[in-house]
């Protein structure tokens, strides 16, 4: 009704563990979405399946129709279980270096993502430190870094791939360069915000102790920037993944999730595309979760965990 103190206390349903109650809304929404997904699969695939039955001139009941929509080879909307089956099949049933193994492709993209992310993050942090301490850089370079947020930088991916390819550099390195280039912008901006986040009062206090710039940095600026760092790292890792995938598109690379998406779209392998997307999502979610865990651990070590 109002802002009374017990507004936040969730009703204690008898017998349910607390973690389940807290997650209940998400679980319910996800379940509803899965049901809707099945319905969509049935409805969208129905015309195609019906045509197939009629062409083969076989009798069919409604249950046959539904079964057909959930099991077709080239569905318009694959059913969730089809996607999961394809995912499990292509991950576990092929040797790890086979181009038919989704695990192989995922690994290719993942390695480019992580390499690019590491490069971009380190470079971004260094640049942020420089920007905060050198005024000329702050005034000349920072506006461009901020502008880069408005510009679709991903469009340069093809150039990087092709130019580097022309001088003989292919494979992991060009994709990593693209990923690194994409993710250093959010890291730089986030870290600049973080390094300049200390209260002016704190900076004045440092000045009364005649602390030099290095001391101020290690004892005040760097610890204050930790939350900003992890927030921008999460953004950076997702952008890095997108960069790696997009880097596989221009030259029609043979390996990687982007390549898998391309071949799937050329050969009409819908379920393969969906499975590749699910794999990419799993990678993205795991990477973000890893950074989140790292962030929470760091904050606990620093004693600033809430």
């Amino acid at each position: 009704m109002t802002s009374s103190a017990d507004a936040l206390a969730l009703p204690q349903a008898v017998g349910w563990p607390t973690w389940l109650i807290k997650r209940a809304p998400v679980l319910v929404v996800v379940s509803i979405l899965i049901v809707l997904w099945y319905l969509a699969a049935i409805l969208m695939n129905a015309p195609m399946v019906r045509d197939a039955f009629e062409r083969a001139e076989t009798q069919y009941a409604v249950s046959d129709l539904i079964a057909g929509t959930l099991d077709s080879e080239r569905p318009i909307v694959p059913a969730p279980h089809q996607v999961m089956a394809q995912l499990i099949d292509s991950v576990f049933n092929y040797p790890l270096d086979s181009p038919r193994s989704l695990a192989y492709h995922a690994w290719v993209t993942l390695s480019a993502t992580v390499a690019g992310f590491a490069l971009g993050a380190i470079f971004g942090i260094l640049l942020a430190v420089l920007i905060v301490h050198v005024r000329t850089l702050e005034k000349s370079l920072l506006p461009w870094v901020i502008c880069s947020q408005m510009v679709p930088i991903l469009a340069i991916a093809p150039i990087v791939i092709v130019v580097l390819g022309a001088i003989g550099i292919r494979g992991l390195l060009p994709k990593s360069i693209i990923s690194a280039y994409l993710c250093f912008f959010p890291v730089t901006i986030g870290m600049v915000k973080g390094l300049t986040s200390p209260d002016p009062i704190q900076l004045d206090l440092m000045r009364t102790w005649s602390a030099n710039a290095l001391q101020i940095f290690w004892k005040l600026r760097w610890p204050s920037s930790v939350p900003f760092l992890f927030a921008s790292l999460k953004v950076a890792v997702t952008i890095s993944l997108v960069g790696a995938i997009v880097g596989e598109l221009p030259t029609g690379a043979q390996a990687g999730i982007g390549a898998r998406l391309l071949t799937g779209s050329y050969y009409g392998q819908t379920v393969q595309i969906w499975a590749a997307l699910v794999a990419a999502s799993i990678i993205a979610a795991s990477l973000v979760a890893l950074i989140d865990v790292a962030g929470k651990w760091t904050e606990r070590q620093m004693g600033t965990a809430t």
Partner: protein, 383 residues
């Protein structure tokens, strides 16, 4: 928040003075060094260039002691250095096979430019207007100098235009291909980006308003929205092509999905921001839920909504271009980029990228202006 630094750190004063003298000497040293690795060209041959080099060196020397004019003098020196090197590049002997003399000229000019920027950054300003002008001039000058360096490096090293075109070549190609650029702009921006942006943002807003009303829905959708925002949504492009065909509709669909989630998450955050006192006030007026939504929650959520609109403006453009990498009819920025890249006519690619950059900045700028008009009451506009 006026400045990122507290103004104490910068290239130290002594280093700046030494630097300016070094730049001056560098310019003069170029007179003695060969300009080309092939033919026998020297600066002493052309009297006008000789005079320009001397003048540039004098400018740098005069700019060395810190004074109010120092930035202006340094600027003239940089201009002279740039002019000399660019004119030299017209000489076939130099272009492609530039010698030490040429590079020393360039490096000296570069050093002078860095120091001039440093002096400009430290220039005291009388009022807000001059400070704003100065803060605008610095990044522009910096960017312009980078373009100059790019031009000099490409032409001086003789990099194959197939590999890396010079900015001048790109500019020429841009002007020549305006009709094509125009068509691509309409296909990508007007058709795919704008329609997808409007659909995605409105859907996000609508769902957020409904979820705000039903708390259970909000608690279910918010974590989901945050989760999906981290996923590479651009990857649904091939699926959208399967559903909507090759043309702009599938790209608009990708854009719409990309814009939906940030809008949902931000709007939900904004709708929750009204405090208990404001909500109690509405309750004391006996206001209906619809009145509370339109008179309290939505206006309070506007800053968050505009934040999402700005983020989405960039995401939309990226989504449309990348979706076009997956296949599109014969038009579009992404299409043109992938085609011209395969043909190795990179000057056209850069022209398209320039178009995309301008479109992105203009789009963002328009949204930012709209934000200012709608939320001028927000504290962020007061400092």
């Amino acid at each position: 928040m006026d400045r990122a630094t507290d103004g104490d750190g910068d290239v130290t004063a002594r280093a700046q003075v030494i630097g300016f003298w070094l730049a001056a000497l560098g310019l003069l040293a170029a007179l003695a060094l060969p300009l080309s690795t092939e033919a026998d060209a020297a600066l002493t041959a052309n009297s006008r260039l000789l005079a320009a080099v001397f003048a540039g060196a004098c400018m740098f020397a005069a700019a060395a002691p810190a004074s109010v004019l120092s930035a202006a003098l340094g600027f003239i020196g940089v201009l002279l250095g740039c002019a000399v090197t660019l004119i030299l590049l017209d000489d076939d002997a130099v272009a492609g096979s530039a010698g030490w003399g040429f590079w020393v000229l360039t490096l000296a000019t570069w050093l002078g430019a860095i120091l001039t920027l440093a002096r400009l950054a430290a220039l005291p300003t009388a009022d807000n207007a001059t400070r704003w002008l100065r803060d605008l001039a610095i990044p522009i000058a910096f960017g312009a100098f980078l373009v100059y360096l790019w031009e000099v490096a490409v032409r001086g090293f003789g990099v194959s235009p197939v590999l890396m075109p010079a900015p001048s070549a790109t500019a020429k190609r841009l002007v020549e291909s305006l009709p094509t650029l125009g068509e691509d702009f309409i296909q990508t921006f007007v058709r795919s980006v704008l329609s997808g942006y409007v659909i995605g943002c409105s859907a996000g807003l609508f769902v957020a308003v409904i979820a705000h009303r039903f708390d259970f829905l909000k608690r279910g959708l918010l974590p989901l929205g945050n989760f999906v925002s981290a996923l590479p949504i651009v990857g649904i492009a091939p699926i959208m092509v399967m559903w909507f065909g090759f043309d702009w509709q599938s790209k608009a669909a990708v854009v719409a999905v990309m814009c939906f989630f940030p809008m949902l998450v931000n709007t939900l955050a904004g709708l929750a921001v009204a405090g208990p006192i404001e909500r109690d006030l509405m309750r004391s007026y006996g206001a209906r839920p619809g009145q509370t939504l339109f008179k309290l929650h939505l206006p309070a959520a506007l800053p968050f909504i505009f934040n999402a609109l700005k983020i989405n403006s960039t995401l939309a453009l990226i989504g449309a271009i990348v979706a076009e990498f997956f296949g599109t009819p014969l038009q579009g920025i992404g299409f043109r980029i992938s085609i011209e890249v395969a043909r190795m006519s990179l000057d056209m690619v850069w022209a398209e990228i320039a178009l995309a950059a301008v479109a992105g900045m203009a789009f963002y700028g328009i949204v930012a202006l709209a934000e200012r008009a709608a939320t001028s009451w927000h504290p962020s506009y007061r400092t």
